[in-house]
């Protein structure tokens, strides 16, 4: 059990900055997922915690002890690598037990613990094999066992599931989660897969280009993305983001032949500037009548089995909606969409940061204005 305190941590590769001052705190026993596209610095951050990468600036403390200058072995972390990094010339048993061998644990005890650990991950029948003779999922288990056997204070996972096929990935995901509950070590899991991130995380850290975009519980991030980046990265298909102009007089925005009323106080603050609004494809609804709502032309349809995604075009902008499996549409259809305003997100067009609508607005009658936005709900 150990907390991890990351204070103003920076990383430069030569002159190129990879991390620009990251501040994070992972509580003891927490399962934290760091999510971001490739090149966002998430693996770098993980490897800095592990001690595989030098820290250019700032401090990392594990369990209250600053580890900047400590070797990986002195930090009490175990790591599961993306390509498993199993020792190809050693048997499964020796792979699992290598850490114990290095630390000089007597052979009898070592074998007992290897057997115990192998049982946890269901590898007891494969101990004599070489990694080359194992399937992808089994190799993954060996990599996990190798981390578990050390009874580490901190588990680090570097995209461990990305080499598995889709079905195996889902079952391993569940196993990792169960394992975490059982061992209750602090776990940091790096991935670019948002489903993995949503399902595994107690807390989610979304990173982009060396900055932390948002930290929070998965649903919190899903419902209140802090920036256009987070909004488009979390959720599949991605959130629709549309740049539009705020009409101050009518306190509304126009989109696809429809008008939506917005908080007048917000409209006043924007003073006719552009704003980016977003809505998730799963929150759009089809209008009962053709005249009402946003006019969208279907470009193509993806069948998912449980439903379908219609990729449409509205005023030249791409706009996706998800439909249930009873609603059949084909390419070329014209749809009328209703965009419930409680599901609308607003972002500053220049900075991409979220504009909080629920926050108290100084020069407005809060309750009334607020209420009107809620009830006027649907674009019409």
């Amino acid at each position: 059990m150990a907390d991890i305190d990351i204070r103003a941590v920076r990383k430069n590769y030569g002159k190129t900055p990879a991390l620009h001052g990251v501040d994070l705190f992972f509580a003891s026993g927490e399962f934290v997922v760091i999510l971001g596209p490739s090149g966002c610095g998430k693996s770098t951050l993980l490897r800095m915690i592990a001690g595989l990468e030098d820290i250019t600036g700032g401090e990392i403390a594990i369990d209250g002890r600053v580890v900047n200058r400590l070797e990986p072995r002195e930090r009490g972390c175990a790591m599961v690598f993306q390509n498993y990094a199993l020792y190809p010339h050693m048997s499964v048993a020796n792979n699992i037990g290598y850490a114990l061998k290095v630390s000089g644990v007597p052979k009898a005890e070592r074998e007992r613990r290897i057997a115990e650990t192998a049982k946890i991950v269901g590898l007891q029948d494969y101990l004599a094999r070489r990694p080359a003779a194992l399937s992808g999922g089994q190799r993954q288990r060996v990599a996990m066992a190798r981390a578990i056997i050390r009874e580490p204070k901190v588990f680090l996972f570097d995209e461990p599931l990305s080499n598995l096929d889709a079905k195996l990935r889902i079952s391993m995901r569940a196993e990792i989660r169960k394992l975490h509950q059982r061992l209750s070590a602090t776990s940091v899991f790096v991935t670019h897969d948002q489903v993995e991130a949503m399902t595994l995380a107690d807390r989610l850290v979304v990173m982009n280009r060396g900055y932390v975009e948002q930290v929070g519980r998965p649903l919190e991030i899903y419902h209140r993305p802090a920036s256009t980046f987070v909004a488009s990265f979390i959720g599949a298909p991605a959130m629709n983001l549309v740049r539009t102009r705020v009409e101050v007089e009518s306190a509304s925005i126009r989109f696809g032949g429809a008008t939506v009323a917005i908080d007048p106080a917000f409209a006043a603050r924007q003073r006719g500037q552009d704003v980016t609004f977003g809505i998730r494809p799963e929150h759009c609804r089809l209008s009962a009548t053709a005249e009402e709502g946003v006019q969208a032309r279907v470009d193509f349809v993806e069948e998912l089995g449980v439903g379908r995604v219609a990729y449409c075009e509205v005023e030249g902008e791409p706009f996706a909606i998800t439909l249930d499996d009873h609603t059949v549409v084909t390419a070329g259809d014209m749809l009328s969409l209703l965009l419930p305003s409680e599901h609308l997100h607003f972002f500053d067009t220049d900075t991409g940061r979220r504009i909080e609508m629920d926050a108290p607005v100084p020069d407005a009658a809060p309750a009334a204005a607020h209420h009107s936005v809620q009830t006027m709900g649907v674009l019409s």
Binding site: L52, E71, P72, R73, A85, Y98, A99, V102, S103
Partner: protein
């Protein structure tokens, strides 16, 4: 497989292959045939066609104590030299592979000796390790005769082996560095996470994965030690087989016997024995050492 080009005439492909065929014929098959012919015949002293003498040339070689001496010298040269050359190349490769500051410069530096011809290196070392000058002179002043390759056969043999090692460490270094760089970086990192320090990582992870490269180097370097142009070149330039046959490796003895002693038949017989010896060694290596090598 699809045939990309089809020659209609029979002579065109032959013409294309001819230069290479002629080279092999004149510089390989013809000499080999001549050697086999000489090994079983003797030239009459006062002219006339060569006489077939059966195994007499071999008997003569085997009954000569200096011949057996040259076999011993070659065995020592071709085992000690390669083992050290490979070990030193391995240490240098592991050091350079850690990519510490300046490793690019050292990589270049370590390969350089391989670019120097053996006899040239031999001449340089003759001066560097000459007993009358420099470091060796100081040592000899303190402990007389502690280093005198001109006087003691063992010292001279050590000298030529040192030159061989100096030159060929750069060669093994290239191969081992290439081998190390194909070992996934994550393996070393996994071992580091498992608590192994740099030395332990090298022994437990890097060296076992280099086994195919090490085996390849063992076979080629031992062959080089037995018959390499450098082996002859170094001995020829530094000691000329002496003192008292102390550095007379088999190749040197063969050349010496053929072109100074003008005994082509004896030299040819010894060449054939040497070829046989190398075949036996290579067989042993493949039979017993290769079993312990895991190709991925």
């Amino acid at each position: 497989m699809e045939k990309r080009a089809v020659f209609k005439s029979w002579w065109l492909p032959v013409v294309f292959a001819l230069p290479q065929l002629l080279l092999i014929l004149f510089f390989f098959y013809w000499p080999v045939a001549a050697v086999v012919n000489w090994a079983f015949t003797l030239e009459p002293p006062f002219g006339g066609p060569a006489e077939f003498v059966g195994l007499a040339n071999f008997q003569e070689a085997f009954s000569d104590p200096f011949y057996w001496n040259s076999v011993m010298v070659s065995l020592i040269f071709a085992t000690v030299g390669p083992l050290f050359a490979i070990s030193i190349g391995l240490v240098l490769a592991i050091a350079v592979d850690r990519q510490l500051p300046g490793s690019g410069f050292f990589r270049f530096l370590y390969i350089l000796p391989y670019a120097i011809a053996g006899p040239a290196a031999g001449m340089a070392f003759r001066f560097i390790l000459s007993p009358e000058r420099g470091l060796a002179a100081t040592l000899n002043a303190a402990w007389p005769d502690i280093w005198n390759p001109a006087k003691y056969g063992e010292h001279a043999l050590a000298l030529v082996i040192i030159i061989f090692i100096w030159k060929w460490s750069g060669y093994t270094f290239i191969f081992l560095l290439a081998g190390l760089q194909s070992v996934p970086r994550a393996l070393g990192e996994a071992a580091a996470m498992d608590g192994a320090g740099p030395f332990r990582r090298a022994i437990d992870v890097q060296v076992p994965l280099l086994a195919p490269t090490l085996f390849f180097l063992l076979v080629t370097m031992m062959t080089e030690g037995f018959v390499g142009a450098d082996t002859f070149g170094i001995v020829h330039a530094v000691t000329e087989g002496g003192p008292n046959h102390g550095t007379e490796v088999m190749v040197y003895r063969i050349v010496d016997e053929a072109f100074k002693g003008l005994n082509y038949s004896g030299a040819s017989a010894q060449s054939i024995i040497l070829i046989g010896l190398i075949m036996i060694f290579t067989f042993i290596q493949f039979r017993f050492v290769e079993k312990r090598v895991h190709y991925k």
